[in-house]
């Protein structure tokens, strides 16, 4: 593109951007900044705001629910490497060419289409103590598992559904596309050198799709920190107790169920810091991959 001055297009680009920018400022930027202000106040979400300094933050640090929410997020994060290993491994197997893969691909993609509310409602029935999955387990001679009523199982069930189950088909298509971009000659060379499947995977495939893997990790961090609410709301409502609370759900619970908006804004600040860090990581990755 010929360089002809920075403002060559005059005012037109600003006009084209105006709708986006107005919406962004009103619905995203201003809310994020106002949360920060609200976190220093006592406020019900309506009526007057009363400045109380750091009291909300002190209360938050003394709140067991807050620490449980962080801990739960940590558990969810632990599933991200699992997701990477499983999806990359299965994709590598599929890359070898498997008859009938196209049909599998369409089926495995279905969960990704359904939306978190539908998925949450489906699993809220499917995983009940007397639900279909437990019936199958007992038929198979296994134990009954309290997926949604035992705290430890509940958060792990949420993690498996969100990090593994929903995105499996999506991940396979994504990594297969990335692997298709690898020069076939590299594989032939590896074959000539007598490299086995695992060696090829580790030495050739994984380094070649490093960007895709990094994107996948960042994408999953976004999902875990910023896209959990609708699933938790419909699947467990945060329960049992605080067992499936995340920061998002805590903000909802404190702000919209208990009307402690000032206090919930302190949680928002913590969530904001995490998301800002993830966002920076994503931008760095995007800029690096477009060099």
């Amino acid at each position: 593109m010929p360089a002809r001055g920075l403002e060559r297009d005059g005012i037109a680009p600003y006009v084209f951007l105006a709708p986006l920018l107005v919406l962004l400022i009103a619905f995203i930027l201003y809310p994020v900044l106002m949360n920060l202000v609200a976190s220093f106040t006592e406020w019900k979400g309506y009526g007057p705001m009363k400045w109380i300094g750091l009291a909300n933050y002190r209360a938050m640090l003394a709140d067991a629910g807050f620490w449980t929410s962080l801990w739960n997020t940590g558990i969810l994060v632990c599933y991200i490497p699992v997701s990477v290993v499983v999806t990359v491994f299965v994709s590598a197997l599929l890359r070898e060419g498997l008859p009938g893969w196209k049909a599998y691909r369409a089926i495995l993609y279905i969960p990704n289409l359904l939306g978190l509310v539908i998925i949450g409602v489906i699993f809220s029935v499917y995983l009940r103590d007397d639900g279909p999955l437990n019936l199958l387990l007992t038929w198979a001679g296994g134990p009954k598992l309290r997926f949604l009523t035992s705290p430890w199982l509940a958060i792990n069930a949420v993690a498996v559904i969100k990090v593994i189950w929903i995105h499996l088909g999506f991940g396979l298509i994504y990594f297969l596309a990335a692997m298709n971009g690898i020069d076939a000659g590299v594989y032939e060379a590896a074959l000539l050198d007598g490299a086995g499947f695992f060696q090829t995977l580790w030495r050739v495939t994984v380094p070649s799709i490093r960007f895709a893997i990094e994107f996948w990790v960042v994408f999953n961090f976004i999902e875990v920190f910023a896209r959990m609410f609708s699933l938790i709301y419909t699947l467990t409502q945060g329960g049992p107790g605080y067992a499936t609370f995340t920061l998002e759900y805590g903000i909802f619970s404190q702000g919209f169920q208990k009307f402690r908006v000032g206090y919930s804004s302190a949680w928002s600040t913590v969530l904001f810091l995490f998301c800002a860090a993830i966002s920076f990581a994503q931008i760095r990755l995007m800029r690096r991959s477009h060099v």
């Binding site: 060559r8 920018l21 309506y46 495995l108 702000g255």
Partner: protein
């Protein structure tokens, strides 16, 4: 499992088995909800998993009429397309500006858009609610549509930007020499050429809005104005609601995204890689 490019036969069988297991794991929850939706409440209690003995549409009739799902579906089928048109207009215009135009604030503004793409809706919810009530948009279609377009546009803009940026610059230059205004270049030259990518973000936008919960939960407080997704989320919380009725509601709500997928399968799965990887 020795050879690199062609797997041994035994290994191949193992992969097939693995895939079948994954497919079963993906479909079993969906099967069970579909099976339940054709049962009576009594049959579900005694047999929650097996196929229905005497399939009945009672649960569908109940959820469509008494549980007002038909009304919610109509609401969604009005709100989402209107939102989608606005979303496309916003994303195409902004994507073109970022992708093909020169202006001083291009990079800082683009980075701002990227930065704001991922923030969770709950982080914004309080103020979005305050804003909509300030503008008297609570319980209105306009309120929820604006919040959707605002929240989902940054990602669509990003995808359109990468697409427009990779288009040959000569197209713009030629139109400019012909004396076309920037608006004409965008509407009559670039937008038609960007058709495939517009279809992709249309599908992404449709899915996002169709499945959206937090903003509709806060803004649409009249029962009559609920979207399908919101209606189902609220049904889930109703005490003592029978499983077949809830299941029928879920199947009805699944129908639209699944139909879309059947019609546009290739484009939907292509969207997976849109704007994601380059190198």
């Amino acid at each position: 499992m020795r050879s690199g490019s062609s797997l041994a036969a035994g290994w191949r069988v193992l992969v097939q088995v693995l895939l079948v297991v994954l497919v079963v794991a993906s479909l079993l929850p969906l099967y069970s909800v579909i099976a339940a939706s054709f049962k009576t409440a009594d049959e579900y209690v005694t047999s929650p998993f097996l196929p229905p003995r005497a399939p009945t549409l009672d649960a569908y009739a109940y959820s469509l009429v008494s549980a007002r799902l038909l009304q919610y579906a109509v609401n969604s089928l009005v709100l989402v397309p209107v939102g989608l048109v606005l979303y496309l207009a916003v994303c195409i215009a902004a994507g073109y500006a970022f992708g093909k135009m020169r202006f001083r604030l291009r990079l800082p503004l683009f980075l701002l858009v990227l930065f704001l793409t991922i923030f969770p809706q709950l982080l914004l919810a309080t103020q979005v609610f305050k804003l909509t009530s300030l503008l008297h948009l609570t319980n209105t279609a306009a309120g929820v549509i604006l919040s959707w377009v605002a929240y989902f546009s940054p990602f669509g803009t990003y995808i359109m930007t990468t697409y427009f940026r990779d288009m040959p610059y000569e197209l713009v230059e030629a139109a400019r020499i012909d004396g076309a205004s920037p608006t004409r270049i965008l509407v009559q030259v670039m937008t038609p050429l960007a058709g495939p990518m517009i279809a992709t973000i249309a599908i992404i936008g449709f899915q996002s809005m169709w499945n959206e919960l937090p903003f509709s939960l806060l803004i649409l407080q009249n029962q009559g104005s609920r979207t399908l997704t919101l209606g189902i989320a609220m049904m889930r919380g109703e005490f003592g609601l029978r499983v077949p009725i809830l299941s029928a509601a879920v199947v009805i709500a699944m129908a639209v995204p699944l139909l879309l997928f059947l019609l546009f399968q290739r484009r939907v799965t292509l969207g997976v890689t849109a704007g994601a990887i380059k190198g």
